[in-house]
């Protein structure tokens, strides 16, 4: 049984569709990313999964139960963890105090010390929340999300506002949780984050699914155009190269292609045969961000056409 199953979900506010015919599944222990521009329906979808918001139609199962049913809510809330976009911790308590308070809500919480260590706040345990830096507060927030030892963790933009080191730490934490069997539902604006963590991505735009798949295959990315670039070797003219350059600037040659294996083979064979070394060789696929921007842009344009 998957951790989450959503089938043909609908939700509208005052006649405007916020979420329309959305279906997806999240496997147990997976890291699942929900992407989309602001207003695409991400928060609405996540709030319905958390049981915080009611749906208008469709079938939703979270850890096997319907989160819309009142009698399931307490059961569900002891088994999910939620980290909201905005930090919400009482500023006058110490790190340990808030964690102990929230631990008391759960029948079988994680140990407070373990959580403090997991989020890297060992030397801040006795410090008041208001004295923490923004990044440290965010990590405490994540700590509160996992204190109940959840099977399913919702993370809404967990690393927004974190410095690079704290971001990497949070990524490691998410990977550790995932390895331990926790399912993670992630929303993020950072594509590198999604690429580093998620096994499955759904892109929402205008309340509908614009694309879904693995981060490396999204939108046909694994077959799309590739840019191969390298530095032009000394004493070689562009015309001497075994491939046709698309651009050349400052000694850097770029070749656009959709059959990168052939181009690379010709280049390397030529290099070996003529003893010209090729410096700075790189193969660049479309980034996830490129694909994401194109998908959401297309979806918005389609929506405008429908309106017109």
């Amino acid at each position: 049984m998957p951790a989450i199953g959503v089938n043909s979900l609908f939700k509208s506010y005052g006649g405007v569709h916020a979420v329309s015919d959305v279906s997806f599944e999240v496997g147990r222990g997976d890291v699942f990313a929900l992407l989309g521009p602001n207003g695409a329906g991400k928060t609405t979808t996540i709030e319905i999964l958390e049981g915080f918001n009611k749906r208008d139609g469709g079938d939703v199962r979270v850890l096997g139960v319907d989160p819309g049913e009142r009698h399931n809510q307490r059961w569900l809330r002891t088994r999910i963890g939620v980290v909201l976009q905005e930090m919400a911790v009482e500023s006058f308590f110490s790190v340990r105090q808030v964690l102990e308070r929230n631990a008391g809500f759960y029948p079988a919480p994680r140990r407070v010390d373990e959580v403090i260590e997991l989020v890297g706040l060992c030397d801040k345990a006795q410090v008041k929340v208001k004295k923490l830096s923004g990044g440290q507060q965010r990590r405490l927030d994540i700590g509160l999300g996992i204190i109940g030892n959840p099977r399913l963790l919702f993370l809404d933009e967990p690393t927004t506002g974190l410095d690079p080191a704290a971001r990497r730490m949070t990524w490691d934490l998410i990977r550790t949780l995932s390895e331990q069997g926790t399912t993670v539902v992630l929303s993020s604006h950072y594509m590198d984050e999604v690429e580093a963590l998620a096994q499955h991505v759904v892109v929402l735009a205008k309340g509908q699914i614009a694309a879904s798949g693995t981060p490396w295959s999204l939108g046909g990315r694994e077959f799309g155009k590739v840019v191969i670039s390298f530095m032009l070797p000394d004493g070689v003219a562009l015309a001497d190269l075994p491939v046709t350059p698309s651009r050349c600037a400052g000694g850097k040659v770029e070749v656009d292609t959709d059959c990168e294996i052939e181009v690379l083979a010709r280049l390397t064979n030529w290099s070996m045969a003529t003893h010209h070394s090729i410096a700075g060789l790189s193969v660049m696929r479309q980034t996830l961000e490129d694909v994401y921007l194109k998908l959401t842009h297309d979806a918005e344009q389609r929506a405008e056409v429908v309106v017109a």
Partner: protein, 269 residues
Amino acid sequence: MSTVDTRESDPKSVKKDLRLVLHQVKYEQMAFWVNRTGAIFTIGFSVLFLVLLGATNGSQTISSLHNITNDQFYVPGFAAYGVMSACFTMLAINLVTRRETGLLKRLRLSPLPTWALLAAIYISTAIVAVSQVAVILIIGRLGYGVQFPTNWLALGLVLVVGIACFTAMGVAISSVIPNQETAGPVTSIAFFLLLFLSGLWFPISPTSGLATFSKFFPVYHLLQAMAAPFQLQPGVSAWAWGDLGIIALWGVGCGLIALRRFRWSPRRN
């Protein structure tokens, strides 16, 4: 109906639930005392007012109230003030702040049941209110020689009804206040205006136009009900049933508004 119940179930236990409420009460109390503003505005203010007013004209007598002293007049008044500021003003500001900073939403998404949270907030508010009444009574007795109430049972009833109703009013007004910035001014102005009109600072004649107006509001009646158990005037019952009835009506009305309009999420989005 379509739910196939294959999940493991959590054992239901009243004892565990009660422990959960007490757990939350402990942190509500910590929040109140650690976050000193609340303590200063409720307990600090009432003590300060009582001491200042007592120092200026405490032993003068009030002819319209059968020559009781000002101190005798102020002690029940500030005991009532304590209940109202803890249950109404502080609670309303506290709830708006927690709602707008996302703390309520976060609690909503935790396994702490709503009833347990509300019970904990209520108990914690009651603890503050009762300790405040105790402080005022003790200061009145030791500092100004004001006798304790003659009917403790009647005082107990006033506290139960007063705390319940003003808590409901606090929750109700918090649900109509849009943001943190206005929470303090709106509740304080409404509260102090009613206190003034209802005769906390000076006695008003029960037949005056001011009294006629104030009688529509619960503040006047709590002041009256709180004074009754002291039986300062001959022939007045310790049980102010009429006043308690009007307070209870306000409590029920505000309770209904609170239930209908209570929100967990910040208003700004």
